[in-house]
Structure formats: C-alpha cells, structure tokens
C-alpha cells in the first residue's frame, strides 16, 4: 500500500486525492494547501487524512512514497525537485514544467535517484483515445494525414500562462501518444485581448511524412467545443468529446487520385460508405491513470506519460509561444 502526499487542493486536487485514496494499492496520507478553507474541506470529507499548509511536511514525510503536485505550472519544478530530492516518486500536473531546462533537470534527478515521474496526461487513459490509438495501430485509419482539434470555451482560469499552455497540453499529449514520429517544427499565431496573455491561439505542428496537426484554442468562445478530426488514407474519424454516447464516429470515406491524367483532367474518385460509432470503454480515466502509476512504482514499469513525454509537450509549448511572438514563424524542434 503506497502512501501519497498531495500538494494543492484547488480545482483538480480533490479528484487526485479521491483516486489515490480509493485506489486498490494506494492511500493518501497528507494533503497540503495554503488555504485553511480547502484544508477544512479535506478534513470534513476525509477525517483520516492529515493536512498541512507547509509543503515541506509532505516532501520530507518519511512514510510518503509518492508526491502529487497539483499546483500552478510555475511551481511544478520547485515542488517536484524537492520531492525527488527527498526520494519521492512524483505525479505532476500538466504541463510538466515551465521550460525544457527544468524538465531535463527533473528527469535526470529522477533517473539518478531511481524514481518515477508521471505527468498527468489524463486523456491518454480515456476510452476514446485508447480506441483511436487502436485504430491507428491496427491499420484501420491507414496512413495518417492530419489531426485537427478545436478546444474552445468561455473561461480565463489561468493568470500565469496563456491559452496555449492552458488548453493545448491535452492535444499535444494525445498527439504525442497517437503519432509514432516526433514533431519537427511548430508555427503558432494568437492574440491577447484581456490580461496580457494570448486568449485565442492557433498552432500547427509539422510531423514527418506529411502528417500535419492543428490545434485551435480559445478562452473567449461563447460555446464549448471539444472536437477533433483525424484523417487517414483509409478512413477518417470525428471525436466529439462532448457527446454522451457515440464520442467517436469512424467514416469509411476517402479520396483517390488517378495519377496518369493531365493536371486539368485528374480523375478524382470519392469513396463514401458507412459510418460506425464503436462502443467505448466506460472508465474514469484518472482512476486508470493513478492506478497505473502506483503499479509502475510498485513493479518498476514504465508509463507512456513519463517525464520524457511531459518534456516533449513542454518543448512544443515553448516553441509555440516563441512562434506566436514572431507571428507564425516556424520554430524547429
């Protein structure tokens, strides 16, 4: 039974605490938050969990095995470093760190101390993403053409980061998981209207073999959209994460070009067949993820969303922010 200490009990913290606390092989020992109000809530819901406002109590506790860092991104590096230095495995919110240097240092420290890092790329554990991964692996989609995600809503929850760092990590981690090759370059554009950070932004990621990805993120949208189009040579799919059922629709549609023709007389043929919405696993993704991390720590397994995956996402975010400053000029990775 691994003991977990959780730092941060804000928006997402309660979910982390619940899942680690009710997991088959883990229990939360202590929760840290600077707000006495939040700690009172912990006490009320979990009378058996200790609370503190001093994060050092968590990272230095001799009985804690895993420290979960559920705080704003600019604090991740410092807290994770303290935890790793004290021999704790680290579960950390996305995005992993504020820059690549911090990520590199944490990865190295973990390796030296033989500790594990998991970055909370929750979406990788959803039934939807697992199904898409399967469709790519088993050749259902065929050669990949593009990944195009729209992730917009009304909400300016973050004050220290722009909309890319807030919303794009979801898609970047999903792409990192789905696409076998590594991103080569990034072009991004955006605009700041309110608080000095981009509140609307668009990001293009170039992959090898003509695979292209695009992410549209926006804090100023009147409607919530969570839709991703994925196009392959054999099939194409639409993933609408807001649908209660039928989140993924696979279309037997495509285009074929007859190359023997002259340029103004190409023979284009369209294929338009059935649509199919596969039944998805109904699991709580976060529970699958925290259980898996505990298993990784216990049995020395490797997760797909380790520190390296977290670093790749940070690298893409950093490149995107740089590109936005230069109005879309691509940054090579």
């Amino acid at each position: 039974m691994l003991k977990v200490g959780v730092v941060g009990y804000g928006y997402w913290g309660p979910n982390i605490v619940r899942n680690f606390h009710l997991g088959p092989d883990s229990r939360v020992e202590m929760v840290c938050d600077k707000s006495p109000d939040m700690l009172r809530r912990v006490n009320k819901t979990y009378p058996d969990i200790k609370t503190t406002s001093n994060c050092m109590d968590v990272v230095t506790s001799p009985t804690i095995d895993i420290v979960a860092v559920v705080t704003p991104v600019w604090t991740h590096y410092d807290l994770a470093k303290k935890a790793l230095s004290n021999g704790k495995h680290v579960f950390v919110e996305k995005p992993f760190t504020s820059n690549i240097e911090q990520a590199d240092e944490l990865i190295e420290l973990a390796q030296k101390n033989n500790l594990q890092i998991m970055v909370d790329h929750t979406f990788l554990y959803t039934g939807a993403v697992r199904k898409i991964r399967q469709f790519i692996e088993d050749g259902t989609l065929g050669e990949l053409y593009y990944y195009d995600s729209t992730r917009v809503n009304l909400g300016l929850f973050q004050h220290d980061i722009n909309v890319l760092w807030d919303l794009a990590p979801h898609d970047l981690s999903i792409m990192d998981y789905l696409i076998d090759s590594r991103a080569e370059a990034i072009s991004a554009t955006g605009q700041k209207h309110l608080n000095g950070h981009e509140d609307i932004a668009f990001m293009t990621v170039y992959f090898p073999n003509k695979v292209i990805a695009h992410i549209n993120v926006n804090w100023l949208s009147p409607v919530k959209v969570r839709t991703t189009l994925i196009g392959g040579k054999k099939k194409m799919l639409v993933w609408n994460d807001l649908e209660a059922d039928e989140k993924i629709k696979v279309y037997d549609k495509g285009v074929r070009i007859n190359d023997n023709n002259t340029v103004y007389d190409l023979l284009v043929s369209y294929r338009s067949g059935d649509m199919w919405a596969p039944q998805l696993e109904r699991i709580e993704a976060l529970k699958a993820e925290t259980d898996h991390f505990v298993d990784c720590v216990n049995n020395n397994k490797k997760s797909v969303n380790d520190g390296h995956a977290g670093r790749r996402v940070v690298q893409m975010l950093q490149a995107a922010s740089e590109s936005v400053q230069n109005r879309g000029e691509a940054v090579r990775l």
Copy 2:
C-alpha cells in the same frame, strides 16, 4: 433590359444563367461552354438563349451589356480583359484573378472604359452575413475580438488551385465586408497529401486593434462543417450555415477583468445570459447579388464587392500561399 452573356456552364453556371435570365431588368442572350453536352442542356432548358463554344462570340456581341465569367480562376483575367476591352461590364467568379497584377490591370481597364466589375462574393448577400454586419454596425457585438471560421468537407473539386484558393475566398470576402479595417499581415500553414496542392490549410489574418481572424479549410474532412465564431467585447455569436433555421445564435456572454489586482489574483468575472437566434431574411443570395449588379450598371451605383474587394481577397490568398511555403512565416500586406 440588360443583355447578359455567360461564359462557363459547369457547376455554378446554371445558377448564374437562371438568375440573370429571370431578373427583373436583365436577360441572358448567349451562353458559351466548350462542352457540347452542356450547351444541349442550355438549349433544352432555355430554348430562347443562344449557345456557342467560342467565347469571342460572347465578348464581341454588339448587343451584350454584361459578360459573366464563370470559369476556372486561371482563365478569369484573359476573359475579363477581353470583355472589358469590348466595352462589356464584367461579373466574375471568385477568386477574382490569379494574382494582384491581373486584378490591378482589370480594375484600371474598367475605370478607363467606365465599366463596372462585380466579383461573385455571394455570401455578402445572404441574410446571415447581412445580419452579422448589422450587429457589428449597431454595436450589438461591441469591440471586435476575433473571427474564426471552419470550412471543411470531403471534396477535391479544383485541380489548378489549392484548398485556400478554393474555400478561403468565402471567408476572406466576408471578413473584408464585416471588418472595417484592412488586414495587415497573414500567416498560413498547410500540407499536400494527394495532388501537389495543399488539401488542408490554416490561415491567420492580423487586423489592426488586436482583431484576429482564422480560417480552417480542408478537402479531406469526413464531415461537412461551416461554422464561424465571432467574438466581441459585449456579445459573441456562432454562425452555423448548415442549420436550416437558427443559423445565427447570439450569446450574451463575456469576460470582464478587474485591472486593479495583482497578476496572480486577478478578478475575472464571467457574464452568462440568454441566447438569441434572430429571424433571418429568406432570400436567394445570388438573385439579390445579380439584381444588384444590374442595378449598379443601370444606375451607375457602386457595389461593395467590386474589383477592389476582389483584389483584396486575391492579395490575401497570394500572401497566404507564400506563407504556406515558408511554414507560417507572416507576409505583410
């Protein structure tokens, strides 16, 4: 009663012929197409309209007042020039020309000969775009923040141009009409998978005063999407052109920031009120447009979608194509 000659009876030509022929002050005199099949169709439907496979018959006809050019874009310049040189007013498909130089030359020629040019930016005459224009003019939306359009479907109809030149003119002409200021710079990205032209592309247009526009066009989408989000300081709207009714939904939603706070303690307040779908004028946009052109010619009026508007769209397309080659590097206009 103005006489119209139409060159090109392909996908869109029949609509042009029908509207000019049934207009209150115009009649189609002659239709030209290189395909005998198409001409037979003209004969069957309109026994009173002359047909020819030689475009010179149209542009030199002494009785024709207006020549409508409904052919692929690479032929526009040559046909329009012939028509203008022979003293005909010109109605030409979008995009106006293949490059700015051609547009400039045609505009100059028309001016010299005291002739009118209308570029077929049909969407400007829809009830939806007229209503949005009204919401901007009367201050309903407030200061404009962004215009974000997704225009995707399965279809590779064009062989001489990429997906930007095929689908983006709709949005570029709409933006040109809705936004009072002129675009400053363009960044675009995209990828070619099939026939040597970009089949998926993304375009960001920078306007003064932090107004930003984005266009997502794709020939390889399994589903058809025609959705535009427009965000203003006071209200935001969603225009879904595929809805039979309720194409436009106006949301009384917004974000307010209290500037007096420190950076990590900003007071963000959200406003979330009613939604409202205004009744739109039910007109055939193309009929309104062709009638208006006839009125412009008859009474020497000026249309919003004249040669200058057509040129601005071509300029943006040209900049976008250049930017795509340089992976998003912005092109100043």
Copy 3:
C-alpha cells in the same frame, strides 16, 4: 413511350410532371389545373406540354395512357373513376380516397378494365425505407417490437382534412410496407384548436404478435421533427429523415430477461454495443416511383403501393378519425 395526363399543378404537381416527363419511357402530354396562373407556369417551363382547365380533356384524351391525380383528397374518387372508366391507368396522390367504399369501387373498376392503380406512397421508394425493409427481411432487427414516429411542424396546409389525413398517410404506408402482418385495431386521440379539424393527434395501431405502432402528428409545432424509432429484439434503429447524412442509425442495444427469477428479483441484462449508420442509396424517390409505375403498366407488373395498399391506409385513417371522436376508444379493422 407512355403518355401521361396530370390533373392538378399545385404544391406537388410540378414534381409529378417533371418526373413523368423526363422518365425513360413516359412523357407528359397534358396538364390540367383550374388556375390560369398555374397553366402559364406549365407553358413557360414545358412549351411542349398541352394545358387545359377542363379535366375531361385529360381523362377522355385518346392518346393518354396514364392519368395522374394530384388534387385534394375529396376529388380523388371522382377523377380516378372518370379516368378508369375511360380506360386510363391511374396514379393518385395519397391518401387514396375519402373512405373505404370509394377505394373498393375504384379497385373493382380497375380490375374489371384491366387497369393499374398506384397510390403515391413516395416514401416506400426512399433509400431509408428500403434499407429498413432490408433490415427487417434479413433478420437484422430480429422480432419486431414497435414503430414510433413523430412527424410535426408548423403548417396548416389542408382545409378539408385533419392533421391525421394530412401527415399520417406517410407513416401508415411505411408501416404497411415494413410490417408483414395487417393492423388489427386503432386508437387515436387529438384536439382541434383552430379551424374545426384536429391540428394535433396521436394514433396507436395494434398489430398481431404484440407489435405496436404509434404516430404523433402536429401542425402546431415550433420545430420540424421527422423521427422514427423502430425496436426489435436484436437491434433498434433511429431514422431521422431531416439528417443530411446518417439518416438511419442502427444500435446494437437490447434488453434480456431471465425468466427463472421471481417477480421482485428479475435478472435484467442490457446489451450496449456499437452504433452503425449504413450508407443509403441516393435516389430521387419520386423518380424511382414514377419509373416503376410506367414499368408496371408496360409489363403488367404489380407494385406494392397499388390500390389495395392505398385502401388499407384509408381504412386506418377512417378508423383513427372515428376513434378520435370517441376519445381513444379502439376501432377494430
């Protein structure tokens, strides 16, 4: 090449004329309408078709083989009788007649004169209904449980009949085609708010083997709905006729009951699998229907929507109207 005379050029008449006129083996010879305006429209669109305001010109014309009756229902009997008496085959709008007696007389007359009757149950020729029929025939749905249709919109187009006679014939003819057994009894309810005829009504049709059908029709709905649920033991489907694509969605869902249990402890198990939207034939249903009628006449074939089918629909409508008067008391057929 069969010659067709069409009586009635109102809302639906132009479609009938177009399809018979352009059919491979038929041509329209004459159109009759009491409105000179309508006849002028015929002249303009089809200069080669004769027009008349006297229906006797059509039914007595020696060269006409088929008379299409596209007029209000209360005129069907008289016009069809005149046509059959003059040796013409009859294509007649739904509902076939105003009552069963009229239907019986027309069927007998046709039989005696060796003539064909087709009642315009257009929906039977759509890709959607054909696909559903196939799913029933090939056992995909399994034993049928229910057919439940909602057909509502804003519109009070008919002044001589109630909403049941206006909208329910669609569903009644579809059910008659899909369900192998014959309806046994009908219960219907409704209410009149405006012009002395029911403008909202609900109809239950009892079939053998516990198959039940329900039809919800309404002229006073703010939204248009055309949705049918069909439940079978093995699969269930939703047919939304307003969807551009994916009109039919088949669900691998169901319920199983373990009979061995006591009443308060039943073992109910649910099955919830994939959803699947089959590609449908894209045809103009009316064209398929008129072509088929011409083929029936030419080659002495029998259509599914003959006079007997038309009579069964009239019988159900008559029973429903009677039931409505008695607040739902069932009428046996």
Copy 4:
C-alpha cells in the same frame, strides 16, 4: 434543526440523504435499508449517521421529525402510514401510492395529526420548469394549446410497475403544476414485450378548454430522449432536458386563421420570428425541494407538491393503466 430518518438507500436514496443532511435546517439521524452492503456505504460516507435494517427504528425514533420514504412504490403506503401514525412528517418518493384509496387515507391521517406530506416531484424545483411556469403565468405563451412529452430510453429498472408508473409521474406532476385546470379524462395505449408489464406506452390527457397533453414513455428505446413541446397561441417552446445549456427554446411562431373565408379558401397566416433561449437558474432541484420541505414543516407552509398533488398523479396513472387494458378507451377522472 429538524431530524430526518431515511428509509431506502438504493438508487435515489443517497441523494435524499445528502441533501437533508447538508441542508441549513436539517440533519439525517438514521438511515434504514435491508441490505447490509448499503448500510456499510452509509457508515463510510457519514460516520455520524445511525443505520438500521429495521424500519420501525426510524418511524418510532422519538427524535426524528421527518421520515423520507425512498423505497419501491408498493411499500409507500405502509411506511408512510407508520410514520404519520407515529407523528412524523413524510417526504415520499413518486408515485405517491399504488392507488387513490391509499393516497386518500394518508392525506386524511396527516391532516388529523397536523403533519405534512411532500411527494418528491423533483422536476417542479428545476430552473427549466420554474421558467416555463413563469412563461405561462405572465402570458408569454398565451392561451395554452398542448403539452407533448417524449421520455424514452433503454432501461427496465422497475419490476413491480409498468413504464407509465415509472416514467410518466415526471410529466404528470409537471403538467399538474403548469396547467391551471384539472385533467378531465385519460386515454392510454401500450404493449408488453418482456416481463408482463407495459414497456412502451402512450397517454393522452384531456384538460378543459381544448388543452391536450400527451406522454410517450418507452423502456426499449436505443436513444435517450427528454423532449417536451409546449404550444400556446402566442408562442411555442421546446424543452430539451438533455441539453447542457439552452434547455428551453422559445419560438415566436404561430398560426392565424381568418374566419371570414369559406372552408376551401381559408386565409392561414404563419408568424415566424426570433428564437430565444433564456438563461435558467442553476440550482440542484432536489436541494431546493428538501430545503423547502423543511421550511414548510418549520413554518407550517404549504408546498405545491403535497399529498393532494401526489394523489392527482396517482389518479391519472390509475386511469391510464385502466385505459391501457381497454385499448385506449378513455377513463373520466
């Protein structure tokens, strides 16, 4: 601070316990369930709440003021009677009782003992139903024409009652609240396919002044639908309870009839204006309801969903079940 005893901790029980326990003026003292498993769950979540498997402990507890009956319908009468006899106020699940006689007896008993009964018609406390009630009261909808609800899904949760008793109480209680007059007669139809109870049923309720209501309930639907159309002379609305936002859409649509015309020449005019989705109160309906019941008990107020309202719903269900047996023959109330 009122003390509440809850009998039944199944599907809905935990919500009742949570809301009474966290209410400003109430606390749950004891929970009764026959399943030791359920009681363990209570102990785990609420260490301070007593548990018992004997309902007499609850109804005879000297400190308990309110007994909440959250058990199958056939047990309501007995439990509520015991509670009222012991001087407890009663909060009881819908439907109130298995028949009118039981309801009458409980109402009388409560009156005699000066106790309150609330039947859990939760929907009356939702933002949606409150808004619709307001639209009726303030004349927005105008004279009421119809109420038409579809409430279908896959699910056979009840073994002692048919689908009408399971799903229709929602709509019947809402209608009872929205419509000022009392139902006059009921016609219902349905069919049993699986376990000896109707699993699909249709119910028409006749009200004075030509107001008609219709309810479509179905346990064998592949899709979940919760849609109600309400038509008035001035406006019509659609309430889709499955929408996250915009649950209610009000349409400025209608029909007008010019009475001066002859029957075949009626002047029907349609009005088609804007659509409007009002912002709804975001509250937990059940919390508003339990808080209100506590307030009623404390301050001797009367709730709209008292025993009489519960009785009216039971009366309509009983009439509907009787009508179903007679294939739709109306039952007068």
